[in-house]
Symmetry: C2
Subunit: 211 residues, 2 copies
Amino acid sequence: VRIAIPLFDRFTALDAVGPYEVLSRLPGAQICFLAVREAGLQHTENRMLALSAQSRLEDMPDPDVVLVPGGFGTRELVSYEPLLEWLREADRQSILTTSVCTGSLLLGAAGLLEGKRATTHWTMLDELAGYGATPVSERVVRQGKLVTCAGVSAGIDMALGLVAQLHSVKLAQVIQLGIEYDPQPPFNCGSPACAEEELVELVRNRPQQPA
Amino acid sequence: VRIAIPLFDRFTALDAVGPYEVLSRLPGAQICFLAVREAGLQHTENRMLALSAQSRLEDMPDPDVVLVPGGFGTRELVSYEPLLEWLREADRQSILTTSVCTGSLLLGAAGLLEGKRATTHWTMLDELAGYGATPVSERVVRQGKLVTCAGVSAGIDMALGLVAQLHSVKLAQVIQLGIEYDPQPPFNCGSPACAEEELVELVRNRPQQPA
């Protein structure tokens, strides 16, 4: 299974690395981090972390799985035609086309969400309608081969589901136990549905916060 | 707050990036990935992902927070004296000395777990006793300024707790909502306590599985 994860400057690290940690344990999986612009180090928003992407989009035009992470960097890429064209081409023959967090805005900009149910980081849900999608407040949204998920940490949940679909429930369970994914979040405030209104407003009004 | 995350070849990516994603949202935090051996790209076990660590251990001898990730690469580092010496020195003045997954074996090898309660990836719990620690099957184990946590994904839970301790509960909650950490694991098998025995044996007998 050839899995392509496009990277770009100002991406959100956990969006990419959460699913990587799960999918890399799929036997025979080849995960390739593809530079959207220049090959080399791709930095997160704060520039304190960089992941290496030595290959370019054109090096893998036909992945089996596309996984698009989010981050502030997506804002300027919604009009970057080489990426949008690559996404459209890759989606033509992919088994699964997926995104984490605001990565779905790039799928939307490529026209791949037209008439589809999809999700993204909760602060950006309204943006999806602009791409002809029906925004859905769910952690993981499956619509045919299109799978989108909520913000940042949701990529781990999504990726375990992808392994179940690509291989088997048993392997997904082995991986979940292997990465000891028995989450115990310290607070009950991880989504706007359960967080207090004050907290929701605080996060909504933090535009500097990468999403 | 200066946070040091030592990196080495064959580390587990999510061990480092989960906590990074949380701690980097602490205002004023400076997170530095320190190369344990040679500065530059540090590869995961499968070599499909590399993080950049341009600084070396000696560049930050006195971090406020030490966070040691795990991975197969820890096995050979338990006898790598330059790292063990750095850990001992750093721990002398740190506010918090922490680890994710098998990162605690390195704290143990440095002598920092002597007489302390600590944890690690569930498959490696027995190893801790060899370092004079009392192994504990809990997701996050706090003992004074020493904080160790369970395998791979547990670093996210731990890091949210560290933010609450270093700054405030309110900020930890803002970050939890910001990364939409409202986990919905697809299966109830993320720890040996809830997984079926067959699954536990499968994972225990997969030595090729990075932990």
